[in-house]
């Protein structure tokens, strides 16, 4: 959101209106003229004074604030940033030292990832004034997510609030806590060493246990504009303010859905077969959610399955099945199912048309050497459910994937299909996961859910070979593709499934593109040549973001589906002709991209976007019980500076606090516009 032009302007306005004293006077030393003042001792080796005092640390992830109908989560600093003295916490004894320190100053603990958990943070907060937390690097630890969003079980006394099963016992719930201080994760080794060295040099107590000023401290700027909850925030957005265009934005983006063959005829009841996955993940840190097992395993498998079916279709190996097959990629599912609660169907589809709904969630690992099919215990037609499962098992056996049925009395794990079952319990919803009961993935919705950890876990499970993730997902993609085709052709005539096979090279390329390097060959092929240059050499972040700024993951998924399931129009050679003719069937969409040989081609297919912004924001019902009300705060800037603080006797806490409060008052009044 920071790139938003409007926001930039706002930040300029804010800076102008509430310019900090050094910003105003900063202009004095910027022009070179001013190097030439007579007393040039202020210019030591060409450095400006600020550089003598502060060292910027730039390699960090930060935590931002989100709001929903009742409360806010995440972090914020004060408007004038938080300042605290560094304290290295590498063990429990360090933590106790910090807790028993007699100095009345604010601290910023430098914590190792191992110690950074909710219990320890709560312990420190209860003992000390914490100005912020810096986490050093990333090696291991636990899941941030504890609460499972209320899906279909919101009013069900038996299953609601995870009464029957705690899906994520590894979770600490940190993600859903609200902190009044910033939490940064510094990841570059240089910066980590700088922080550590500064602490060791200046903040080590003497043999008598005293600290000697000046002490090493940091300033953390992470101020979030949003008020306590979404309702207040949206009200203030409308009221507006002098200083910022808004305070928060609804989370959301677009869903991508497509059908294998054009759906022209009106659908019969329970005819449509949907295969779905979610496109987004979350973690405690903004735009840093690798979510390898959480969502990537699912949607990459689905893309690979679409590729298998599309390839077979385009090489005319398949006969068109009786029933339509639909692929759906939902966005914003991590935030109370934004995408699936706002699926805008075309006019000829209603929920009644959906027969089977196959959802892939967390399928990168295995539990008891098997994948697990979860059904909702109380919905769906028994015989249809059984046939669904039988088809899946049959396809799995053919492709070499073990699939078992999870216990009947378990509710569905968190899944998009819950949103559909909530409205219509007649459809058969199957959630395929890698966990029998609790999550196998210990890093659900955490920034540790990385490719490396999934690989490590797979190899430690003794699965085939160390690089087994792409093999595993390819087998699963074959299974999914065959299942869909079997269900669609209604086993009459018995289809020849051997023609549908997923491609392992494609799966590993998809993994590489989405998780490591977005400027890979495949992504280059599915964008226009002008956009190909803009693809970054890192992975695109897969947090949903706010609805105003388009999410590249969604766009690429749309283009990939077009590439996989659409047809190339050989006779179209100009981009301007790559659109529907008046005589043509308007059900098609057209895309112009580089294509396999990088020659710029036109593709036609049945791939569509559908908005994924929670209906709560359309209905302006910010206390909605049914829909997601999550919104992301706006912010001005995020920064981290390290410096030495002089003795407090030179600082006068009282006066500075008064001045800060005065400014805070002014700025709050202006910004709230209330």
């Amino acid at each position: 959101m920071e790139t938003n032009n409007e926001k930039k302007w706002n930040s300029v306005m804010i800076t102008v209106l509430y310019s900090r004293i050094d910003y105003v006077f900063g202009i004095w030393y910027k022009p070179k003229v001013c190097y030439l003042v007579i007393v040039i001792n202020e210019v030591a080796h060409g450095q400006t004074v600020n550089k003598l005092v502060y060292r910027d640390i730039t390699s960090f992830n930060y935590c931002v604030r989100y709001t929903n109908k009742n409360h806010s989560i995440g972090c914020t600093s004060k408007y004038w940033r938080n300042v605290g003295v560094l304290h290295l916490v590498e063990s429990f004894s360090d933590m106790n030292k910090l807790a028993t320190s007699k100095l009345d100053i604010d601290y910023v603990p430098l914590m190792t990832p191992k110690l950074f958990n909710l219990d320890n943070v709560n312990f420190l907060m209860s003992k000390r004034k914490i100005a912020g937390i810096i986490i050093l690097g990333a090696n291991d630890t636990a899941s941030d997510d504890k609460e499972i969003p209320d899906g279909m079980y919101v009013d069900n006394s038996q299953y609601q609030s995870c009464k029957r099963i705690e899906w994520n016992p590894h979770g600490s719930g940190m993600l859903y806590k609200s902190f009044d201080f910033p939490i940064f994760r510094v990841y570059m080794e240089d910066d980590i060493q700088r922080l550590k060295q500064c602490y060791l040099k200046h903040n080590m107590p003497t043999s008598k246990g005293e600290l000697i000023y000046p002490l090493c401290a940091v300033q953390m700027g992470d101020f979030m504009f949003t008020p306590s909850n979404t309702e207040v925030c949206m009200r203030r957005n409308i009221a507006g303010s002098l200083t910022s265009g808004g305070f928060c934005d609804p989370l959301g983006d677009s869903n991508v859905w497509s059908t294998l063959y054009p759906m022209n005829n009106p659908l019969k009841e329970r005819e449509l077969i949907i295969a779905a996955a979610q496109l987004d993940s979350i973690s405690q840190f903004y735009n840093f959610a690798p979510g390898t097992d959480n969502d990537a395993s699912g949607f990459i498998t689905l893309l690979s399955a679409a590729y298998a079916l599309g390839k077979a279709k385009n090489s005319n190996k398949l006969t068109k099945p009786k029933k339509p097959i639909m692929f759906a990629f939902f966005q914003g599912e991590s935030w109370d199912y934004i995408g699936s609660s706002r699926m805008d169907w075309p006019a000829n589809i209603t929920l009644k048309n959906i027969g089977q709904f196959l959802e892939l969630r967390q399928v990168g690992l295995e539990d008891e050497k098997s994948l697990w099919a979860h059904f909702d215990p109380s919905s769906g037609d028994k015989s249809r459910n059984d046939a669904f499962f039988a088809a899946l098992v049959k396809a799995g056996t053919g492709a070499g994937v073990n699939i078992s049925k999870a216990s009947n009395d378990l509710p569905l794990p968190p899944a998009s299909v819950q949103r559909f079952l909530r409205k219509d319990s007649g459809l058969s919803g199957l959630v395929l996961t890698d966990h029998k009961k609790n999550f196998t993935n210990a890093y659900y919705n955490s920034h540790y859910d990385s490719l490396n950890q999934v690989m490590d876990k797979l190899s430690s499970q003794g699965l085939r070979d160390p690089n087994s993730l792409s093999k595993h997902l390819t087998r699963l993609a074959t299974t999914v593709a065959r299942t869909l085709y079997m269900l669609a052709s209604d086993s009459n005539p018995t289809p020849d499934l051997s023609k549908i096979t997923a491609d392992e090279d494609m799966t590993s390329e998809l993994l590489h593109c989405f998780l490591q390097n977005a400027s890979c060959t495949l992504f280059q092929q599915v964008v226009s040549n002008s956009n190909a240059k803009n693809l970054p050499s890192s992975a695109y972040p897969r947090m949903v973001g706010v609805s105003q700024s388009p999410n590249q993951v969604t766009n690429l998924t749309n283009h990939l589906m077009m590439y996989f399931t659409g047809n190339q129009l050989a006779d179209v050679t100009k981009q301007s002709n790559c659109k529907s003719n008046t005589s043509d069937n308007s059900a098609y969409n057209y895309l112009w991209f580089q294509g396999q040989d990088f020659k710029n081609v036109c593709y036609r297919g049945t791939v569509y976007y559908s908005p994924a912004v929670s209906p709560a924001f359309l209905l302006k019902d910010y206390k909605s019980k049914n829909y997601s009300t999550w919104a992301e705060s706006r912010w001005q800037s995020v920064d981290l500076k390290m410096f030495l603080v002089p003795n407090p006797s030179l600082q006068t806490h009282v006066s500075s606090d008064y001045i800060r409060r005065y400014y805070r008052l002014c700025c709050t009044c202006h910004m709230c516009g209330c």
Partner: protein, 252 residues
């Protein structure tokens, strides 16, 4: 925010000049006009000095040294220009003078020089220290990269010294211009170059603040005495002026 140190540095830098302003300058409109005009002249001199930055240098220390020397020369040139202006404007200023205390006295010329020097000094002081003070307001202090933590303090002291020096230099050099006394003009030019170049020892990671400040103070002391004699005073009259005068009224 290190507010207390901020106030400390501010008053070290500008405390003496604030006292001078309120006690000797503020009550006369003519003097305030002269002060602001001379401050403006200093700004113009800085503007011309900035041309020096167009000269390419390979070494930073050399660049700083030559720049400072040239900059001082340009300032002294503008001091001379201001002297010429004051000579021409004298009659006009006299006609609008409201205060009778200084008009028509033989001290008047020195007083104009004194105020002109004050304007010069305050403007140069403001330029050299304002951005430091902005940074000194906190929350950090110098030292993260191994620089001396006396940086702010010594900068503030230097600023104060330079404001005072500028006052006395003006008194001496204006008299020198009047009487074509080349010794006085040369003395001012030399000491200005000396003190300015002395600040170069403060550049770098091992600054020698004590040496540069001691020398500058010594120069200030000598310049003060020279200025005192230039203005027609002596040690005795100085002491007399400092002692509280007893007003004796004789009643017959």
């Amino acid at each position: 925010m290190a507010f207390m140190s901020w106030f400390g540095y501010t008053f070290i830098a500008f405390g003496p000049s604030l006292a001078i302003f309120t006690m000797t300058i503020a009550d006369d409109a003519t003097q305030i006009i002269i002060m602001f005009t001379s401050a403006f002249f200093w700004l113009v001199s800085l503007l011309f000095s900035s041309i020096i930055w167009q000269i390419p240098f390979s070494d930073l220390k050399l660049r700083l040294g030559i720049s400072v020397a040239l900059c001082v020369a340009i300032q002294e040139l503008f001091r001379y220009l201001f002297y010429l202006l004051m000579k021409k404007a004298d009659k006009g200023l006299l006609s609008i003078t409201t205060s009778s205390t200084i008009s028509q006295t033989r001290q008047r010329k020195h007083k104009i020089a004194y105020v002109a020097g004050f304007g010069f000094g305050v403007m140069s002081g403001a330029f050299s220290v304002v951005n430091l003070l902005a940074t000194a307001s906190g929350p950090g202090t110098v030292g993260i990269k191994g620089n001396s933590d006396l940086f702010f303090l010594s900068s503030a002291i230097f600023t104060s010294i330079f404001i005072l020096l500028n006052i006395f230099w003006s008194v001496i050099i204006f008299d020198g211009f009047d009487k074509r006394n080349w010794k006085k003009i040369a003395y001012v030019f030399a000491t200005h170059e000396l003190t300015s170049l002395l600040t170069l020892v403060n550049v770098g990671h091992q600054p020698n603040y004590s040496a540069s400040i001691t020398t500058s103070c010594l120069v200030l002391l000598i310049t003060t005495i020279v200025a005192l004699y230039t203005a027609g005073g002596n040690i005795k009259s100085l002491i007399t002026s400092l002692v509280k005068r007893q007003v004796v009224t004789q009643v017959r």
